[in-house]
């Protein structure tokens, strides 16, 4: 009896301790998410009759969304963008950087600081900086460098828009990948490597049979974080291309923005946002369940 009372008191105490975190979570995240679901079932708009008198339209926005080629295009572009920049680009280069830093190379700290620098620039600032590098055909800094070297140049954001946007996002995210993966690498016991070395294992075997398997939880936690955060990248892409040319870089976040704040259809844009939320949740759950990652 006394134990039960103690347990209940303890639970109430825990709840009181959690309240400062739960209240903002409910007000700033859960309520807006639920409101978005409601909004997605209305024809709410920023202008026109629907702004003055919005009405409930049920699942009409979703039917329209699924029949909109631009929406499917944005999902495809998002897929390529996430796989290209987060899963391949940032991970591979971040992992190489983490391995290099672990070996205590000369100038390692400078290298580490340099690779973190892109994170210091806000998304939009980074976007505008890269515009000066890539936009304007022969006026672009990159083109000028190539012209000086006698190499061919291109209108980078017109000719290879998705590749360029993916490359810029890779550049920006390497630092985060490196930090996470360095933490994972430092958690691998050195004794295991020593034992393997005594058994005659070469570096490749040690990497494939020790480093990678022991790093798996860290790698997949990184994958989870980077996938979900890359799906929501907006400022960088919007500053660079606004989703163009011709929708070739219109990732889902830019699509949602365009529907909500360029076409002024809040209800329809909210439907896109709800789908993006569901996709992110599904990916997150899939990562966590299939790989038993502890989060």
């Amino acid at each position: 009896m006394a134990f039960d009372a103690f347990q209940k008191r303890r639970e109430r105490q825990l709840l009181r301790l959690l309240l400062p975190a739960l209240i903002p979570l409910a007000v700033l995240i859960i309520y807006p998410a639920l409101y978005s679901v409601y909004l997605s079932m209305t024809n709410e708009a920023l202008t026109g009759l629907a702004a003055a008198k919005p009405r409930f339209v049920g699942a009409a926005n979703y039917f329209r969304l699924f029949s909109d080629a631009r929406f499917w295009n944005s999902l495809f572009v998002t897929f390529v963008f996430v796989v290209g920049s987060a899963i391949i680009g940032q991970f591979v280069i971040g992992f190489i950087a983490a391995l290099a830093l672990k070996r205590k190379i000369v100038g390692g700290s400078v290298f580490g600081a340099a690779i973190l620098l892109p994170n210091a620039a806000p998304e939009v600032v980074a976007g505008f900086m890269w515009i000066s590098m890539l936009a304007g055909g022969d006026h672009a800094t990159l083109s000028k460098i190539l012209i000086a070297l006698g190499l061919p140049w291109a209108d980078w954001l017109q000719t290879f828009p998705l590749f360029m946007v993916t490359m810029v996002n890779t550049w920006r995210g390497i630092g985060t990948a490196m930090i996470l993966l360095t933490a994972g690498l430092s958690a691998v016991p050195t004794e295991v490597y020593e034992a393997a070395r005594m058994d005659g294992a070469n570096p490749r075997q040690m990497f494939m049979r020790i480093t990678l398997p022991l790093m798996a939880p860290t790698i997949f936690l990184y994958m989870l974080i980077s996938t979900v955060s890359t799906i929501s990248v907006f400022g960088l892409v919007y500053a660079l291309t606004r989703g163009g040319p011709g929708g070739k870089t219109e990732v889902i976040s830019v699509y949602i923005y365009n529907q909500s704040f360029t076409n002024f259809q809040l209800g329809y844009g909210a439907a896109g946002a709800v789908v993006a939320l569901v996709v992110s949740l599904a990916l997150g759950i899939a990562y966590v369940r299939s790989l038993k990652v502890e989060v």
């Binding site: 026109g48 163009g244 259809q265």
Partner: protein, 430 residues
């Protein structure tokens, strides 16, 4: 205790005074340095004549971003008291949303309004018959061409008689000079320009020149709309129009500010502002002797006829929920002053709506604009209706599909019709 009460009362009195002071501050939204520079003298006159403080709030450019911020604030109820509306096709929808205060009675009682050209007054009237905006300047649009380039290549500079004639001229330009022959703004990146500075030029001369029916619905399935998209397709398929720049984030920059001055683009739709802002004295890349070097053609009709497109140039409006509604309405009248019209014309190149400017030596000095202002009353315009913003976006999407060579003219028309139906409902489209 008494000190405490006295202190409290003083604090209340000060906050009330502060509230009164806030009530006499008018917040005005504008974008672009040229617009702010043009408006600053008017703001000073407002402060002097109305005894208010005018706070100019610089909103983001380009127009789409400006409208996003403005509409978001209007919806939230914290928008400025007075603002300009860059795209006149947005006015009807803003009226329907209840954002704009009616100002018809104030304009009717204001002596300056009687000098306004009829076309400006007609354009200012919303579909419900009320006036919500000050139509102080007009955008008079035509086709601007590089006369020097055409004359050098031995190409006729005479007014084209029909769309076919215009297309042939563009082909001849391409063949003889290598320059792109003709540009009509298109695609989603150009925002409202695809409709207002492109599609509108052609539809007014088509077999179905109005897309709004008498009952306020949109008739978008007509042959005229199809023929307009076919004209775009012909331009694109024959490589007469620069396509790649139109798919970029700022599609006007390369063709208007670089290719046309260089002579790589020989003709484009534009407004009187091109003589001042785009290629004239306010331009960063001016064309010397612009009025001689660059000539104008009226928009030819599909078969015959000539049309000059008239539209409101960034009209001023009052926030219906302004805390200073009456004061804002008085300030609105000041935006219609001859002084503001001339200052705006000098900076941006739009055409003053008041005939009174003709007697003003400051306007007479703007030699590029004087003949256009005199002819402003002959301008043709598209009837407006609630939902025009959706039509504008639908045209942008349809023309983008043409730019990307994803569809034929009929497909582009279907994109337009489907988009407007999806956005406004089937009942909005005839």
């Amino acid at each position: 205790m008494n000190r405490l009460i006295a202190g409290g009362l003083a604090a209340i009195a000060m906050s009330l005074l502060a509230g009164t002071a806030n009530a006499e501050t008018l917040r005005v939204a504008l974008h672009g340095q040229a617009g702010i520079d043009a408006f600053t003298p008017t703001a000073e006159r407002m402060e002097k004549e109305l005894g208010v403080t005018v706070e100019i709030v610089e909103y983001p450019a380009p127009d789409k971003d400006y409208m996003t911020k403005l509409l978001t604030e209007l919806a939230a109820g914290n928008a400025p008291d007075l603002f300009s509306i860059p795209g006149a096709s947005d006015v009807a929808d803003m009226v329907a949303a209840g954002y704009l205060a009616p100002v018809g009675a104030e304009l009717a009682a204001w002596p300056g309004y009687k000098d306004f050209v009829d076309v400006a007054k007609q354009l200012a009237v919303s579909p419900d018959g009320e006036t919500y905006v000050m139509p102080y300047i007009l955008g008079i649009q035509q086709i601007y061409f590089r006369r020097d380039l055409l004359e050098k290549a031995g190409i006729s500079t005479e007014q084209p008689k029909s769309w076919a004639d215009l297309l042939d001229r563009a082909k001849e330009i391409k063949a003889k000079t290598g320059a792109y022959g003709l540009l009509f703004p298109a695609g989603t990146s150009w925002g409202g320009g695809a409709f207002a500075e492109g599609f509108s030029h052609l539809i007014i001369g088509s077999s179905t020149p109005q897309i709004v029916t008498d009952d306020g619905k949109f008739d978008l399935s007509g042959k005229g709309v199809l023929d307009v998209f076919q004209f775009y397709k012909d331009l694109i398929d024959n490589d007469l129009m620069p396509v790649d720049p139109l798919l970029g984030p700022e599609p006007w920059v390369i063709p208007k500010y670089e290719m046309f001055p260089k002579g790589e683009l020989a003709a484009t739709t534009c407004g009187s502002w091109c003589y001042i802002f785009d290629w004239g004295r306010e331009s960063k890349n001016p064309i010397p002797n612009v009025t001689t070097v660059v000539g104008t053609w009226a928009d030819p009709g599909q078969e015959s006829g000539e049309f000059v497109l008239a539209g409101l140039g960034a009209p001023w409006a009052v926030n219906a929920k302004s805390a200073n509604l009456e004061l804002a309405k008085k300030a609105l009248l000041e935006t219609g002053s001859v002084d503001n019209q001339i200052e705006t014309a000098a900076r941006i190149g739009n055409i003053p709506s008041s005939n009174a400017v003709q007697a003003d030596p400051r306007f007479q000095a703007l030699t590029e604009l004087v003949p256009i202002q005199a002819a402003a009353n002959h301008g043709t315009y598209l009837k407006q209706a609630t939902g025009m913003s959706a039509v504008s976006e639908g045209v942008a999407r349809a023309t983008e599909a043409l730019l990307r060579k994803e569809t034929a003219a009929a497909g582009a028309q279907a994109i337009l019709v489907d988009y407007v139906k999806q956005t406004l409902g089937d009942e909005a489209v005839k």
